[in-house]
């Protein structure tokens, strides 16, 4: 039968060497773009990379957005979206400061844990509403975005967290580094690696892709769609909560507008990194590199002589370019598959 002869052929096509796969990966392209930005900016001003401050900023600045983008990517993969992450960052950042003020001497580890748990709970609210009421995540998280931000402003009032409120050790965490790599960057990258491996290798991680590709089919197949979707929202909330703690460590001042508007930047980062807004496609590595690219361009523009007021325009072009590219690739892949099918028929 024709299918029998076709099968090895198909397998051959999909099982390429690791090197070839690396070059073909969508993430490689975006990493290359990031590399070009860094090289061009460094050529203009070597201090961009080759100075202690430049090196530190390069690694440190994107680390907060990276955490949020990873969470957003996990939610988007399940064909949902989380608009509340910016507000969660703000709430968690303020809570971090409050913990240090209200409980002097609280262990730093506990504060990180509190950020994770608190963010996770806020995410749980989103997840439960989305999967229980079966209302699109866009609407629910738009609502919780306002509610969380409102709670934040009520809680903060006109007060703000200042450097003097934070213990020395915590501030040192924001500025310190290990082998030249800032602690906060290490935290973000570790989280990204764990999330990436989970999505790639764990059964429940793969189920997220199945749900995003076709929620109805996933349900018919017997996957626990609600549980997985809630899990994705809890993860996204927890990572945003963690990002809030990192925010406080990095900037040491927190006002009520911390993280405002970051939700769309995080989605933008995920889209640039190849995560399809229609679900089922993309990796957290891609989203992380997208976040890195987004934040690095911000810093590179003034260096290459473009007023950084244009940064958002460049980011917009990047997002549009990325989705057009994904579309072209998807069409080409579909054509190749169709050709393959005809060939084997």
């Amino acid at each position: 039968m024709s299918t029998q002869t076709a099968t090895p052929h198909l397998v051959q096509r999909t099982r390429r060497s690791p090197l070839a796969r690396l070059f073909a990966a969508r993430e490689t392209g975006i990493a290359l773009a990031l590399l070009i930005v860094i090289v061009v900016a460094t050529a203009q001003n070597p201090k961009f990379l080759f100075s202690p401050d430049g090196w530190r900023d390069l690694l440190l600045t994107p680390s907060i957005m990276l955490l949020i983008a990873v969470g957003s990517a996990i939610v988007i993969v399940t064909r949902n979206v989380d608009l509340s992450v910016g507000s969660v960052v703000g709430l968690s950042a303020y809570m971090t400061g409050r913990l240090f003020i209200d409980f002097p001497g609280i262990p730093i580890v506990l504060v990180f844990l509190a950020g994770l748990v608190f963010g996770g709970l806020l995410g749980l609210v989103n997840g439960v509403l989305v999967s229980w009421a079966k209302v699109p995540a866009l609407v629910i998280t738009l609502g919780t975005m306002y509610v969380y931000r409102g709670i934040n402003i009520t809680w903060t009032g006109s007060s703000r967290i200042n450097a003097s409120d934070l213990p020395h050790d915590f501030q040192a965490l924001g500025t310190g580094s290990f082998l030249g790599i800032p602690y906060l960057t290490i935290i973000s990258v570790l989280v990204m690696v764990v999330a990436g491996l989970y999505l790639r290798t764990r059964r429940s991680g793969r189920e997220l892709y199945a749900i995003g590709s076709d929620p109805d089919a996933a349900h018919l197949y017997g996957l626990r769609v609600s549980r997985r979707v809630i899990g994705a929202f809890v993860t996204s909330g927890a990572l945003a909560g963690l990002a809030g703690v990192v925010y406080t460590a990095r900037y040491v001042t927190v006002a009520s507008q911390a993280g405002n508007g970051w939700e769309l930047q995080a989605i933008g980062a995920a889209v640039i990194g190849g995560v399809a807004i229609s679900g089922g496609v993309g990796t957290v590595w891609g989203a992380a590199i997208g976040a890195y690219l987004l934040m690095t361009i911000n810093r590179a523009l003034p260096v290459v002589g473009i007023n950084d007021f244009w940064q958002r325009a460049v980011v917009g072009l990047l997002i549009i370019g990325a989705i057009i590219l994904d579309r072209v690739l998807a069409v080409r892949r579909a054509k190749a598959l169709a050709a393959l099918r005809e060939e084997s028929a």
């Binding site: 979206v81 608009l83 509403l129 009421a133 079966k134 209302v135 699109p136 866009l138 609407v139 629910i140 738009l142 609502g143 919780t144 975005m145 306002y146 509610v147 969380y148 931000r149 409102g150 709670i151 934040n152 402003i153 009520t154 405002n260 508007g261 769309l264 989605i267 933008g268 889209v271 807004i277 229609s278 007023n307 007021f309 244009w310 940064q311 958002r312 325009a313 460049v314 980011v315 917009g316 072009l317 990047l318 997002i319 549009i320 989705i323 057009i324 579309r327």
Partner: protein
């Protein structure tokens, strides 16, 4: 109920919703619910909030809600086709900056406003092109153009602001209709509202938009030009946003790159509160207008009662969540109850 269903077995449509009389069908809609809520909130506010009945309250309420009222009209058209336009607030900012930059370069206000409107149309056309011709998801496209248009606006003006505009125009934006507390801007809004209501609810084009939202392929097979309809909806969205941007600039005598930042989500929240389904195919403009006004009335009533802006934010968010969750859960709950009896 079961007996009725058995006896009227010839009529498959024995569902209660279809058995309702015409009057009940009109009264028991989501839109009427929002309108009723609006009326109740207004009455309670007049009775309990000091100064709410003051004419100035109405003036400021309508003046400040006007940009959202305007943009909610085309946004409804876009959402009804199961698309979304997140770039509207950026178009407001861009049009504001265009008017500012051109008038500060010696252009007359009229020509500058026309250029701003044309740019709004162009912005909408770019969105429409990417969504309908290239076939990209509108959520992703308009997150991109949200950044792009805002970036151009901020890039053109930086952190400077242009604050001098012809007095005749700024006065017009702030003026009330002679002898009433109603701002003059409500006249163009009334015109826009009538045009959009007719367009959405009383023309084949509007019915086509609903059909697209319900099922794109079914709409296409029934002769609706899906691409063109969506394209027009996006162009209208850009045009009206630019118009709102010009009004915004005149009202506050201020052209800045970051004008109206974040307004896109306020508009969408109001539209959804007004009963438009994010899945497309469902919604009506009277509900949407009531939704915008409800948020506005709640805001000014709470402010007058001495409650701060943050509580208003919480109320807006809760209202949105409760309204959509109720709309999703109540019918299911009713079905369960009916199945039990």
């Amino acid at each position: 109920m079961t007996a009725a269903a058995q006896t009227s077995g010839v009529l498959p449509r024995s569902d209660k919703a279809h058995a309702r009389s015409g009057v009940r069908r009109v009264l028991l809609t989501r839109e009427m619910g929002i309108i009723a809520l609006l009326v109740i909130v207004v009455i309670v506010s007049i009775a309990t909030v000091p100064n709410f009945e003051n004419k100035l309250t109405l003036t400021y309420l309508l003046r400040d809600s006007a940009p959202i009222l305007f943009i909610a009209l085309p946004m409804t058209l876009v959402i009804v086709t199961e698309e979304i336009d997140l770039s509207v607030a950026s178009v407001v900012g861009l049009s504001s900056v265009m008017v500012g930059v051109l008038t500060s370069h010696g252009w007359g206000f009229g020509p500058a406003a026309i250029v701003a409107l044309l740019i709004g149309i162009l912005c909408g056309a770019v969105n429409g092109f990417l969504v309908t011709v290239v076939g990209l998801p509108s959520l992703a496209v308009t997150i991109g153009t949200l950044a792009l248009y805002r970036g151009i606006a901020v890039g053109l003006l930086g952190t400077t602001a242009i604050t001098t505009f012809p007095k005749t125009w700024t006065n017009l934006a702030k003026a009330n209709i002679e002898g009433t507390p109603i701002p003059w801007v409500m006249i163009p809004f009334a015109v826009f509202a009538v045009v959009f209501i007719v367009l959405l609810h009383f023309t084949p084009f509007g019915r086509g938009l609903f059909a697209i939202g319900l099922s794109k392929s079914a709409a296409a097979f029934s002769g609706v030009n899906v691409g063109r309809s969506k394209f027009i909806a996006f162009v209208l969205s850009g045009f009206v946003s630019a118009f709102a941007g010009i009004y915004f600039t005149l009202l506050y005598s201020n052209a800045r790159g970051d004008n109206a930042t974040g307004m896109e989500l306020q508009v969408i929240a109001a539209v959804l509160l007004g009963g438009v389904s994010i899945f497309g195919g469902r919604g009506a403009l009277h509900g949407v207008i009531a939704g915008v006004l409800l948020i506005g009335v709640l805001g000014s009533a709470l402010r007058l009662a001495g409650i701060t802006a943050d509580t208003i934010t919480i109320v807006t968010g809760l209202l949105l969540i409760v309204s959509v969750v109720a709309a999703a859960v109540v019918p299911r709950w009713r079905k369960v109850r009916r199945a039990r009896t």
